[in-house]
């Protein structure tokens, strides 16, 4: 298969970027999108030209490192990660536009590589649970109903790729933060930090400069893990309850008269 590629080239964060056209020939339809880029890079190396920088790690759709916008859609046409997108999904001779994830909070490092550490900082703010190092509690004292477990795991499968942010017209990270908060706040292990988690993760999310949700739902439509929009409803609920409830450090006191 032959393709024309319009690839975003940008040497540095501060530099102005532009599209550069490449043609690739003799591509196996079973090659993944990243393997096709590998072949292009091998050729560029032989020609002693600067290769196209792009992110990838596991290449089996579970790590969330690959992050290409293919034909204006984060991760491409199939709602899977970029590495699980195959060239058979494109027509022979097609022109394919490849860009980095577009968001002010994800500055471009080089070409197709963006800095998504803003998401890491949101996790650091509250995406953890305290673990006891002393005697373990009796497991039956922490029952998890199968429905709750399923719901928590459906949110926990978020791989943190950031496609939700790239698809959002507002550049919001609500699906990501919602998935993390839903995952931990539903399970007994996450109860100790429940209120603080919603507060500090939303605070960090706002501080990073992510936009607000207007319920377009585009995030869910590109999510390779098919995370449902209701995690955003859960986040809204958890945050409202946490923020508007009285600080436990400042309980009301009672006096006669």
């Amino acid at each position: 298969m032959n393709f024309t590629l319009e690839i975003w080239r940008q040497f540095d964060t501060g530099e102005e970027g532009r599209y550069e056209d490449f043609t690739v020939e003799g591509i196996d339809p079973e090659a993944s999108f990243l393997e096709m880029l590998d072949q292009l890079n091998e050729r560029l190396t032989e020609e002693e030209r600067r290769t196209v920088a792009f992110d990838s790690d596991c290449r089996e759709g579970i790590c969330g490192t690959c992050s290409l916008v293919i034909n204006d859609t984060p991760h491409g046409p199939r709602q899977v990660t970029s590495c699980q997108t195959y060239m058979r999904d494109f027509e022979d001779g097609a022109t394919i536009r490849v860009e980095p994830f577009r968001s002010t909070t994800f500055p471009v490092i080089r070409d197709l590589v963006t800095d998504r550490s803003a998401l890491d900082r949101v996790i650091q703010a509250g995406g953890y649970t305290g673990a006891t190092t002393g005697p373990q509690p009796e497991p039956n004292s922490m029952p998890v109903a199968p429905e709750v477990q399923e719901k928590a795991m459906d949110a926990a499968i978020c791989i943190g790729c950031g496609a939700c942010v790239a698809a959002c017209p507002n550049g919001a990270a609500m699906l990501f933060t919602g998935a993390k908060v839903t995952h931990l706040n539903l399970l007994p292990q996450g109860q100790a930090e429940r209120g603080n988690r919603a507060n500090s993760m939303v605070e960090q999310m706002d501080e990073e400069g992510f936009g607000g949700c207007t319920n377009f739902g585009e995030c869910s439509r590109v999510c390779p893990q098919e995370i449902s929009l209701d995690v955003i409803g859960m986040l809204n609920r958890e945050y409202r309850k946490a923020r508007l409830s009285r600080d436990p450090k400042d309980p009301p006191t009672m006096l006669a008269q």
């Binding site: 319920n215 409803g233 508007l244």
Partner: protein
């Protein structure tokens, strides 16, 4: 509360709550308007009686028109919070997304994409609407205080007023179809099990509101509602002109 308002989710919640208040008012307003469908019954049209009743509501606990002014204050407050929240969020969202790369439309409804446009036009319409039927400033057609039926009848004999009101109603429909579902989601009340019902519910409520409001101008314009008796003020004016 201040911290809540500063956050994106907090602002959204304020927008959703004030949106709920405004939708609630729209329903009451629509039901109240339907009083004009009784026609110019007898000495006083039913809608005129209704308008008077609204002013006397709560007496003697409240002063004359007290309830009316309380509702007006709540509405004004809601509109101000609604617009302020949305505008502040809009600036945030614009900064979060690089301007030269608008997000491709994957599956979002067109109504959700035009909330700002429909909102601005609706705000302009509300100002016009108050100037016409509350302050009686836009008196292209004859308008008289406390003679609602007479005012409505005359205004809706003109095709352009009918057109303005019907266009405004379409805008309300566009705004509410996304808005009603959106506020339920923002308040965290939606769930996968309820989503279908809430989506249909939002569309149905939107249709009921739009059709309910639209009946009034349409029925006046098509002549299904009879002309009112000339108001007392006009009769005196004519009589004054004759004797003078």
């Amino acid at each position: 509360m201040v911290e809540f308002w500063r956050s994106t989710i907090g602002k959204k919640t304020f927008v959703a709550v004030t949106g709920t208040i405004l939708v609630g008012y729209l329903i009451l307003h629509m039901v109240g308007n339907l009083n004009s469908l009784f026609g110019p019954t007898g000495a006083e049209p039913r809608v005129d009686w209704y308008a008077g009743w609204l002013r006397e509501l709560g007496e003697p606990l409240l002063p004359f028109a007290g309830a009316l002014w309380i509702v007006r204050a709540i509405l004004l407050g809601s509109v101000i919070i609604h617009i302020t929240g949305v505008v502040q969020l809009r600036f945030r969202n614009r900064d979060a997304r690089p301007a030269r790369y608008p997000a491709r439309k994957i599956g979002r409804s067109w109504e959700s994409g035009v909330m700002m446009t429909s909102g601005i036009l609706l705000a302009a319409f509300i100002v016009f609407h108050i100037l016409q039927f509350t302050t009686l400033t836009v008196d292209v057609t004859p308008l008289h205080h406390e003679q609602v039926y007479f005012n409505l009848y005359n205004a809706f004999q003109e095709w352009y007023f009918v057109a303005i009101y019907l266009v405004a109603l379409i805008l309300i429909g566009v705004h509410l179809r996304h808005g009603i579902w959106s506020l339920v989601q923002t308040l965290g009340l939606d769930s996968p099990a309820r989503n279908r019902g809430i989506r249909y519910g939002a569309t149905t409520l939107t249709l009921v509101i739009v059709v309910g409001f639209a009946l009034v101008p349409i029925l006046f314009w098509t002549g299904l509602l009879d002309a009112p008796e000339p108001p007392a003020a006009t009769i005196t004016a004519i009589a004054g002109g004759l004797t003078g």
